[in-house]
Protein backbone atom coordinates (compact mmCIF):
# COMPACT_ATOMS: atom_id res chain seq x y z
CA UNK A 1 0.00 0.00 0.00
CA UNK A 2 1.39 3.34 -0.93
CA UNK A 3 1.74 5.96 1.72
CA UNK A 4 1.62 9.62 1.03
CA UNK A 5 4.62 11.50 2.08
CA UNK A 6 5.30 15.08 1.57
CA UNK A 7 8.03 16.24 -0.76
CA UNK A 8 8.26 19.96 -0.31
CA UNK A 9 6.24 23.07 0.00
CA UNK A 10 6.72 26.47 -1.36
CA UNK A 11 7.63 28.99 1.28
CA UNK A 12 5.11 31.51 0.07
CA UNK A 13 1.74 31.00 1.50
CA UNK A 14 2.56 29.37 4.80
CA UNK A 15 -0.43 31.20 6.16
CA UNK A 16 -2.66 29.55 3.64
CA UNK A 17 -1.23 26.16 4.50
CA UNK A 18 -1.84 26.67 8.18
CA UNK A 19 -5.32 27.95 7.71
CA UNK A 20 -6.21 25.00 5.50
CA UNK A 21 -5.21 22.53 8.15
CA UNK A 22 -6.82 24.41 10.98
CA UNK A 23 -10.17 24.95 9.48
CA UNK A 24 -11.12 22.07 7.27
CA UNK A 25 -14.79 22.74 7.20
CA UNK A 26 -14.44 26.12 5.61
CA UNK A 27 -10.99 26.54 4.16
CA UNK A 28 -9.93 30.10 3.77
CA UNK A 29 -8.14 29.15 0.62
CA UNK A 30 -9.97 27.83 -2.32
CA UNK A 31 -8.49 24.52 -3.33
CA UNK A 32 -8.68 24.03 -7.02
CA UNK A 33 -7.15 22.15 -9.86
CA UNK A 34 -6.97 18.57 -10.87
CA UNK A 35 -4.23 16.26 -9.75
CA UNK A 36 -1.88 15.67 -12.61
CA UNK A 37 0.75 12.96 -12.70
CA UNK A 38 4.04 14.58 -13.51
CA UNK A 39 6.34 11.61 -13.55
CA UNK A 40 4.28 8.51 -14.17
CA UNK A 41 6.04 5.21 -13.88
CA UNK A 42 8.74 6.31 -11.50
CA UNK A 43 6.35 7.41 -8.85
CA UNK A 44 3.58 9.84 -9.19
CA UNK A 45 4.03 13.42 -8.17
CA UNK A 46 0.72 15.05 -7.69
CA UNK A 47 0.49 18.75 -7.89
CA UNK A 48 -2.21 20.39 -5.86
CA UNK A 49 -2.79 24.00 -6.60
CA UNK A 50 -4.04 26.26 -3.89
CA UNK A 51 -5.15 29.63 -5.06
CA UNK A 52 -5.95 32.41 -2.72
CA UNK A 53 -7.17 34.75 -5.34
CA UNK A 54 -6.82 34.89 -9.11
CA UNK A 55 -3.22 35.32 -10.16
CA UNK A 56 -1.73 34.16 -6.88
CA UNK A 57 -0.78 30.52 -6.64
CA UNK A 58 0.97 28.40 -4.12
CA UNK A 59 1.81 24.81 -4.94
CA UNK A 60 1.96 21.99 -2.49
CA UNK A 61 3.41 18.81 -3.83
CA UNK A 62 2.52 15.37 -2.62
CA UNK A 63 4.93 12.66 -3.61
CA UNK A 64 3.80 9.07 -3.68
CA UNK A 65 6.80 6.79 -3.90
CA UNK A 66 5.71 3.49 -2.57
CA UNK A 67 5.05 1.52 0.56
CA UNK A 68 6.87 2.00 3.78
CA UNK A 69 8.36 5.42 3.28
CA UNK A 70 7.83 8.08 5.87
CA UNK A 71 8.79 11.68 5.56
CA UNK A 72 10.54 13.53 8.29
CA UNK A 73 7.57 14.62 10.41
CA UNK A 74 8.79 18.17 10.73
CA UNK A 75 8.64 18.63 6.99
CA UNK A 76 5.00 17.63 6.68
CA UNK A 77 2.53 20.40 7.19
CA UNK A 78 -0.41 19.02 9.08
CA UNK A 79 -2.62 19.56 6.09
CA UNK A 80 -1.12 16.55 4.40
CA UNK A 81 -2.02 14.11 7.10
CA UNK A 82 -5.56 14.71 6.11
CA UNK A 83 -5.85 15.07 2.42
CA UNK A 84 -7.99 18.08 1.74
CA UNK A 85 -10.78 20.16 3.13
CA UNK A 86 -12.39 20.64 -0.21
CA UNK A 87 -12.83 18.72 -3.41
CA UNK A 88 -9.84 18.15 -5.64
CA UNK A 89 -11.82 18.12 -8.82
CA UNK A 90 -15.04 19.47 -10.17
CA UNK A 91 -18.13 17.42 -10.98
CA UNK A 92 -17.54 18.23 -14.66
CA UNK A 93 -14.23 16.34 -14.54
CA UNK A 94 -16.24 13.15 -14.63
CA UNK A 95 -16.07 12.98 -18.41
CA UNK A 96 -16.80 9.27 -18.48
CA UNK A 97 -20.18 9.73 -16.80
CA UNK A 98 -19.38 7.26 -14.09
CA UNK A 99 -22.30 7.12 -11.75
CA UNK A 100 -22.45 5.27 -8.44
CA UNK A 101 -25.81 3.60 -8.12
CA UNK A 102 -25.62 1.32 -5.12
CA UNK A 103 -23.67 0.81 -1.96
CA UNK A 104 -24.02 -2.12 0.38
CA UNK A 105 -22.23 -3.27 3.49
CA UNK A 106 -22.60 -6.73 4.90
CA UNK A 107 -21.06 -8.45 7.89
CA UNK A 108 -18.99 -11.31 6.52
CA UNK A 109 -19.13 -13.28 9.71
CA UNK A 110 -22.90 -13.58 9.74
CA UNK A 111 -23.77 -12.70 6.17
CA UNK A 112 -26.24 -10.05 7.37
CA UNK A 113 -26.72 -7.05 5.14
CA UNK A 114 -26.04 -4.13 7.44
CA UNK A 115 -26.72 -1.35 5.08
CA UNK A 116 -27.83 -0.90 1.53
CA UNK A 117 -28.65 2.15 -0.44
CA UNK A 118 -29.43 2.49 -4.10
CA UNK A 119 -30.37 5.30 -6.42
CA UNK A 120 -32.72 7.08 -6.42
CA UNK A 121 -31.67 8.33 -3.01
CA UNK A 122 -33.58 6.57 -0.30
CA UNK A 123 -33.34 6.34 3.43
CA UNK A 124 -33.16 2.77 4.49
CA UNK A 125 -33.17 0.92 7.74
CA UNK A 126 -32.27 -2.70 7.77
CA UNK A 127 -34.73 -4.59 9.91
CA UNK A 128 -32.73 -7.79 10.00
CA UNK A 129 -29.71 -6.38 11.75
CA UNK A 130 -30.51 -6.58 15.41
CA UNK A 131 -27.76 -4.44 16.78
CA UNK A 132 -26.48 -2.38 13.93
CA UNK A 133 -28.78 0.24 12.54
CA UNK A 134 -28.04 2.98 10.14
CA UNK A 135 -29.27 6.39 9.20
CA UNK A 136 -28.24 7.97 5.98
CA UNK A 137 -28.46 11.54 4.94
CA UNK A 138 -27.84 12.07 1.26
CA UNK A 139 -27.26 15.72 0.60
CA UNK A 140 -25.17 16.35 -2.49
CA UNK A 141 -24.20 13.69 -5.05
CA UNK A 142 -20.61 13.43 -3.92
CA UNK A 143 -21.01 13.64 -0.20
CA UNK A 144 -22.67 11.11 2.05
CA UNK A 145 -23.12 11.24 5.79
CA UNK A 146 -23.51 7.98 7.71
CA UNK A 147 -24.64 7.39 11.24
CA UNK A 148 -24.02 3.96 12.71
CA UNK A 149 -24.49 2.58 16.19
CA UNK A 150 -21.43 1.91 18.39
CA UNK A 151 -21.74 -1.80 17.64
CA UNK A 152 -20.57 -1.10 14.11
CA UNK A 153 -17.05 -0.43 15.39
CA UNK A 154 -16.93 -3.95 16.85
CA UNK A 155 -17.25 -5.58 13.46
CA UNK A 156 -14.17 -7.30 12.19
CA UNK A 157 -14.77 -8.01 8.54
CA UNK A 158 -17.32 -6.47 6.27
CA UNK A 159 -17.94 -6.79 2.58
CA UNK A 160 -18.49 -3.44 0.94
CA UNK A 161 -20.19 -3.59 -2.44
CA UNK A 162 -20.19 -0.66 -4.78
CA UNK A 163 -22.13 -0.58 -8.03
CA UNK A 164 -21.53 1.94 -10.77
CA UNK A 165 -22.55 2.60 -14.34
CA UNK A 166 -20.33 3.86 -17.11
CA UNK A 167 -21.27 6.16 -20.01
CA UNK A 168 -20.81 5.26 -23.62
CA UNK A 169 -17.04 5.78 -23.66
CA UNK A 170 -14.90 2.79 -22.71
CA UNK A 171 -12.86 3.42 -19.60
CA UNK A 172 -9.36 2.03 -19.28
CA UNK A 173 -7.46 1.81 -16.00
CA UNK A 174 -10.17 2.81 -13.60
CA UNK A 175 -8.72 2.96 -10.13
CA UNK A 176 -10.02 3.89 -6.74
CA UNK A 177 -8.02 5.09 -3.78
CA UNK A 178 -9.96 5.51 -0.59
CA UNK A 179 -8.65 6.82 2.69
CA UNK A 180 -10.42 6.79 6.01
CA UNK A 181 -9.41 9.17 8.77
CA UNK A 182 -10.34 9.88 12.33
CA UNK A 183 -9.34 13.47 12.84
CA UNK A 184 -5.73 13.61 11.67
CA UNK A 185 -5.11 9.91 11.91
CA UNK A 186 -5.19 7.62 8.90
CA UNK A 187 -7.28 4.58 9.79
CA UNK A 188 -7.24 2.75 6.52
CA UNK A 189 -5.91 3.19 3.02
CA UNK A 190 -7.51 1.26 0.23
CA UNK A 191 -6.23 1.02 -3.33
CA UNK A 192 -8.19 -0.92 -5.91
CA UNK A 193 -7.64 -1.23 -9.63
CA UNK A 194 -10.83 -1.98 -11.57
CA UNK A 195 -8.96 -1.97 -14.86
CA UNK A 196 -11.05 -1.74 -17.97
CA UNK A 197 -14.76 -0.84 -17.93
CA UNK A 198 -17.03 -1.73 -20.82
CA UNK A 199 -19.00 1.20 -22.29
CA UNK A 200 -22.61 1.45 -21.14
CA UNK A 201 -22.04 -1.19 -18.51
CA UNK A 202 -23.20 -1.63 -14.95
CA UNK A 203 -20.49 -3.08 -12.75
CA UNK A 204 -20.28 -4.19 -9.18
CA UNK A 205 -17.36 -4.80 -6.94
CA UNK A 206 -17.31 -6.21 -3.48
CA UNK A 207 -14.16 -5.86 -1.50
CA UNK A 208 -13.45 -7.16 1.93
CA UNK A 209 -12.68 -4.57 4.55
CA UNK A 210 -10.92 -5.72 7.63
CA UNK A 211 -11.48 -3.20 10.35
CA UNK A 212 -8.22 -1.77 11.62
CA UNK A 213 -7.30 -2.71 15.15
CA UNK A 214 -8.37 0.24 17.24
CA UNK A 215 -7.68 0.79 20.90
CA UNK A 216 -10.60 1.22 23.27
CA UNK A 217 -9.62 4.85 23.69
CA UNK A 218 -9.81 5.56 19.99
CA UNK A 219 -13.11 3.72 19.71
CA UNK A 220 -14.53 5.80 22.54
CA UNK A 221 -13.30 9.00 20.91
CA UNK A 222 -14.83 8.02 17.60
CA UNK A 223 -18.19 7.39 19.26
CA UNK A 224 -18.06 10.61 21.25
CA UNK A 225 -17.09 12.75 18.28
CA UNK A 226 -19.63 12.22 15.52
CA UNK A 227 -18.64 13.05 11.96
CA UNK A 228 -14.97 13.48 12.83
CA UNK A 229 -14.37 10.20 11.08
CA UNK A 230 -14.13 11.02 7.42
CA UNK A 231 -13.20 9.44 4.14
CA UNK A 232 -12.02 10.64 0.79
CA UNK A 233 -12.55 8.46 -2.27
CA UNK A 234 -10.50 9.33 -5.32
CA UNK A 235 -11.27 7.85 -8.70
CA UNK A 236 -8.73 7.89 -11.49
CA UNK A 237 -8.92 6.99 -15.16
CA UNK A 238 -5.48 6.57 -16.75
CA UNK A 239 -4.04 8.24 -13.65
CA UNK A 240 -6.13 11.33 -14.07
CA UNK A 241 -8.46 12.25 -11.23
CA UNK A 242 -12.03 12.32 -12.50
CA UNK A 243 -14.01 12.09 -9.28
CA UNK A 244 -13.64 12.85 -5.65
CA UNK A 245 -16.31 11.79 -3.19
CA UNK A 246 -16.39 12.41 0.51
CA UNK A 247 -18.20 10.91 3.43
CA UNK A 248 -18.32 11.33 7.13
CA UNK A 249 -19.38 8.96 9.85
CA UNK A 250 -20.94 8.99 13.30
CA UNK A 251 -21.06 6.00 15.60
CA UNK A 252 -23.45 7.26 18.22
CA UNK A 253 -26.67 6.18 16.59
CA UNK A 254 -29.48 4.76 18.68
CA UNK A 255 -28.32 6.50 21.84
Amino acid sequence: MARWYFKRTWQLGEDQVRSLSRNNARPKCFVSGAMVPVRPGVGYVWRLTVSRRPGFHTSLTLDQRGPGLHADPSSIPRTHLKVVGDYLCKPEDNVYSIDFTRFKIRDLETGTVLFEIAKPCISDQDQDAEEESVDVDISVGRFVRYQFTPAFLRLRTVGATVEFTVGDRPVSNFRMIERHYFRERLLKNFDFDFGFCIPSSRNTCEHIYEFPQLSEDVIRLMIENPYETRSDSFYFVDNKLIMHNKADYAYNGGQ
Binding site: L108, G159, G195
Partner: protein, 204 residues
Protein backbone atom coordinates in the same frame (compact mmCIF):
# COMPACT_ATOMS: atom_id res chain seq x y z
CA UNK B 1 -7.96 -25.52 31.93
CA UNK B 2 -6.26 -28.89 32.19
CA UNK B 3 -2.46 -29.11 32.24
CA UNK B 4 -2.45 -30.35 28.69
CA UNK B 5 -4.48 -27.41 27.45
CA UNK B 6 -2.21 -24.97 29.26
CA UNK B 7 0.82 -26.58 27.65
CA UNK B 8 -0.81 -26.34 24.27
CA UNK B 9 -1.56 -22.69 24.88
CA UNK B 10 2.06 -21.96 25.78
CA UNK B 11 3.32 -23.89 22.81
CA UNK B 12 1.05 -21.91 20.55
CA UNK B 13 2.25 -18.66 22.04
CA UNK B 14 5.83 -19.74 21.51
CA UNK B 15 4.93 -20.48 17.94
CA UNK B 16 3.42 -17.04 17.49
CA UNK B 17 6.47 -15.36 19.05
CA UNK B 18 8.74 -17.40 16.85
CA UNK B 19 6.82 -16.42 13.78
CA UNK B 20 6.66 -12.79 14.86
CA UNK B 21 10.41 -12.64 15.44
CA UNK B 22 11.46 -14.61 12.44
CA UNK B 23 8.83 -13.67 9.95
CA UNK B 24 8.13 -10.22 11.35
CA UNK B 25 4.43 -10.63 10.96
CA UNK B 26 1.32 -12.50 12.04
CA UNK B 27 0.65 -16.00 10.71
CA UNK B 28 -0.41 -15.88 7.06
CA UNK B 29 -4.05 -15.31 6.28
CA UNK B 30 -5.83 -17.52 3.78
CA UNK B 31 -4.23 -17.35 0.35
CA UNK B 32 -6.10 -15.35 -2.25
CA UNK B 33 -6.48 -16.24 -5.90
CA UNK B 34 -7.74 -14.06 -8.73
CA UNK B 35 -10.14 -15.83 -11.05
CA UNK B 36 -12.20 -14.89 -14.05
CA UNK B 37 -15.69 -16.36 -14.48
CA UNK B 38 -17.14 -16.54 -17.99
CA UNK B 39 -19.98 -18.25 -19.82
CA UNK B 40 -22.96 -17.34 -21.96
CA UNK B 41 -25.73 -15.14 -20.64
CA UNK B 42 -28.21 -17.14 -18.62
CA UNK B 43 -25.75 -19.92 -17.82
CA UNK B 44 -26.02 -19.08 -14.13
CA UNK B 45 -22.73 -17.42 -13.23
CA UNK B 46 -24.20 -14.68 -11.05
CA UNK B 47 -26.61 -17.06 -9.33
CA UNK B 48 -23.94 -19.60 -8.44
CA UNK B 49 -21.55 -16.99 -7.09
CA UNK B 50 -24.31 -15.28 -5.10
CA UNK B 51 -25.26 -18.59 -3.56
CA UNK B 52 -21.64 -19.24 -2.59
CA UNK B 53 -21.55 -15.85 -0.89
CA UNK B 54 -24.76 -16.63 1.01
CA UNK B 55 -26.62 -13.86 -0.76
CA UNK B 56 -30.26 -13.90 -1.69
CA UNK B 57 -31.08 -15.00 -5.20
CA UNK B 58 -33.80 -12.40 -5.60
CA UNK B 59 -31.35 -9.62 -6.25
CA UNK B 60 -29.63 -11.40 -9.13
CA UNK B 61 -30.07 -9.68 -12.48
CA UNK B 62 -28.30 -10.09 -15.78
CA UNK B 63 -24.74 -8.81 -15.51
CA UNK B 64 -24.03 -6.04 -18.00
CA UNK B 65 -20.38 -5.49 -17.16
CA UNK B 66 -18.28 -7.12 -14.51
CA UNK B 67 -19.12 -8.22 -11.01
CA UNK B 68 -16.24 -8.70 -8.62
CA UNK B 69 -16.81 -10.81 -5.55
CA UNK B 70 -14.55 -12.18 -2.88
CA UNK B 71 -15.79 -15.71 -2.26
CA UNK B 72 -14.51 -17.12 1.01
CA UNK B 73 -13.67 -20.79 1.47
CA UNK B 74 -12.15 -22.48 4.45
CA UNK B 75 -8.65 -22.62 3.02
CA UNK B 76 -8.63 -19.80 0.48
CA UNK B 77 -10.36 -16.65 -0.72
CA UNK B 78 -11.26 -16.51 -4.38
CA UNK B 79 -11.48 -13.05 -5.88
CA UNK B 80 -13.77 -13.79 -8.79
CA UNK B 81 -14.32 -11.36 -11.62
CA UNK B 82 -17.52 -12.50 -13.26
CA UNK B 83 -18.18 -11.13 -16.74
CA UNK B 84 -21.54 -10.70 -18.42
CA UNK B 85 -22.19 -13.21 -21.20
CA UNK B 86 -24.38 -11.25 -23.59
CA UNK B 87 -23.22 -10.93 -27.19
CA UNK B 88 -22.18 -7.31 -26.90
CA UNK B 89 -20.12 -7.99 -23.77
CA UNK B 90 -18.34 -11.19 -24.79
CA UNK B 91 -16.08 -9.31 -27.17
CA UNK B 92 -14.55 -7.56 -24.17
CA UNK B 93 -13.81 -10.71 -22.18
CA UNK B 94 -10.14 -10.81 -23.12
CA UNK B 95 -9.62 -7.34 -21.62
CA UNK B 96 -10.02 -8.98 -18.22
CA UNK B 97 -7.83 -12.03 -18.62
CA UNK B 98 -4.59 -10.39 -17.50
CA UNK B 99 -3.60 -11.32 -13.98
CA UNK B 100 -6.00 -14.26 -13.70
CA UNK B 101 -4.77 -17.36 -11.95
CA UNK B 102 -7.68 -19.59 -12.92
CA UNK B 103 -10.87 -19.71 -14.97
CA UNK B 104 -14.43 -20.73 -14.13
CA UNK B 105 -16.54 -21.51 -17.18
CA UNK B 106 -20.26 -21.96 -16.62
CA UNK B 107 -22.59 -23.49 -19.19
CA UNK B 108 -26.29 -24.27 -19.30
CA UNK B 109 -26.55 -28.03 -19.68
CA UNK B 110 -30.13 -27.66 -20.90
CA UNK B 111 -29.58 -24.97 -23.52
CA UNK B 112 -30.48 -25.21 -27.21
CA UNK B 113 -28.11 -26.80 -29.72
CA UNK B 114 -27.19 -23.41 -31.11
CA UNK B 115 -26.36 -21.99 -27.73
CA UNK B 116 -24.36 -25.04 -26.81
CA UNK B 117 -22.33 -24.62 -29.96
CA UNK B 118 -21.70 -20.98 -29.11
CA UNK B 119 -20.62 -22.03 -25.63
CA UNK B 120 -18.25 -24.58 -27.08
CA UNK B 121 -16.65 -21.99 -29.33
CA UNK B 122 -16.20 -19.63 -26.43
CA UNK B 123 -14.68 -22.32 -24.24
CA UNK B 124 -12.27 -23.33 -26.95
CA UNK B 125 -11.21 -19.72 -27.48
CA UNK B 126 -10.59 -19.36 -23.77
CA UNK B 127 -8.62 -22.61 -23.52
CA UNK B 128 -6.38 -21.42 -26.32
CA UNK B 129 -6.05 -17.79 -25.32
CA UNK B 130 -2.40 -16.99 -24.52
CA UNK B 131 -3.26 -15.48 -21.16
CA UNK B 132 -5.43 -18.38 -20.06
CA UNK B 133 -3.99 -21.48 -21.74
CA UNK B 134 -1.73 -22.45 -18.83
CA UNK B 135 -4.30 -21.86 -16.12
CA UNK B 136 -6.55 -24.35 -14.33
CA UNK B 137 -10.16 -24.39 -15.60
CA UNK B 138 -13.24 -25.28 -13.61
CA UNK B 139 -16.02 -26.07 -16.08
CA UNK B 140 -19.46 -26.17 -14.49
CA UNK B 141 -22.25 -27.95 -16.34
CA UNK B 142 -25.02 -25.98 -14.64
CA UNK B 143 -28.81 -26.35 -14.62
CA UNK B 144 -28.55 -30.09 -14.01
CA UNK B 145 -31.90 -29.86 -12.26
CA UNK B 146 -33.68 -29.19 -15.57
CA UNK B 147 -35.20 -32.17 -17.37
CA UNK B 148 -33.47 -31.31 -20.64
CA UNK B 149 -30.04 -31.19 -19.03
CA UNK B 150 -27.35 -33.15 -20.82
CA UNK B 151 -25.18 -35.45 -18.74
CA UNK B 152 -21.56 -34.76 -17.91
CA UNK B 153 -20.47 -37.49 -20.30
CA UNK B 154 -22.38 -35.92 -23.16
CA UNK B 155 -20.96 -32.50 -22.35
CA UNK B 156 -17.42 -33.83 -22.14
CA UNK B 157 -17.79 -35.46 -25.52
CA UNK B 158 -19.51 -32.51 -27.19
CA UNK B 159 -17.00 -30.00 -25.90
CA UNK B 160 -14.12 -32.23 -26.98
CA UNK B 161 -12.49 -31.72 -23.63
CA UNK B 162 -10.33 -34.82 -23.66
CA UNK B 163 -8.38 -34.09 -26.84
CA UNK B 164 -8.49 -30.32 -26.74
CA UNK B 165 -7.71 -29.78 -23.11
CA UNK B 166 -5.04 -32.44 -22.95
CA UNK B 167 -2.03 -31.30 -20.98
CA UNK B 168 -4.02 -28.60 -19.26
CA UNK B 169 -5.58 -28.79 -15.87
CA UNK B 170 -9.35 -28.84 -15.95
CA UNK B 171 -12.25 -30.13 -13.94
CA UNK B 172 -15.72 -30.74 -15.36
CA UNK B 173 -18.46 -30.89 -12.76
CA UNK B 174 -22.25 -31.08 -12.97
CA UNK B 175 -24.06 -28.64 -10.72
CA UNK B 176 -27.22 -26.72 -10.05
CA UNK B 177 -27.96 -23.79 -7.82
CA UNK B 178 -29.84 -26.10 -5.42
CA UNK B 179 -26.93 -28.40 -4.70
CA UNK B 180 -24.47 -26.36 -2.70
CA UNK B 181 -22.46 -29.31 -1.46
CA UNK B 182 -21.55 -30.45 -4.95
CA UNK B 183 -20.73 -26.88 -5.89
CA UNK B 184 -18.46 -26.36 -2.90
CA UNK B 185 -16.75 -29.63 -3.66
CA UNK B 186 -16.03 -28.47 -7.21
CA UNK B 187 -14.45 -25.32 -5.87
CA UNK B 188 -12.35 -27.29 -3.41
CA UNK B 189 -10.94 -29.22 -6.31
CA UNK B 190 -10.21 -25.97 -8.11
CA UNK B 191 -8.44 -24.59 -5.04
CA UNK B 192 -6.27 -27.71 -4.97
CA UNK B 193 -5.27 -27.07 -8.56
CA UNK B 194 -4.50 -23.44 -7.76
CA UNK B 195 -2.35 -24.46 -4.79
CA UNK B 196 -0.43 -26.94 -6.91
CA UNK B 197 0.27 -24.27 -9.45
CA UNK B 198 1.49 -21.96 -6.69
CA UNK B 199 3.89 -24.58 -5.39
CA UNK B 200 5.16 -25.22 -8.88
CA UNK B 201 5.81 -21.54 -9.39
CA UNK B 202 7.76 -21.39 -6.12
CA UNK B 203 10.00 -24.22 -7.15
CA UNK B 204 11.09 -22.48 -10.32
Amino acid sequence: MSDLRITEAFLYMDYLCFRALCCKGPPPARPEYDLVCIGLTGSGKSSLLSKLCSESQESVVSTTGFSIKAVPFQNAILNVKELGGADNIRKYWSRYYQGSQGVIFVLDSASSEDDLETARNELHSALQHPQLCTLPFLILANHQDKPAARSVQEIKKYFELEPLARGKRWILQPCSVDDMDALKDSFSQLINLLEEKDLEAMRI
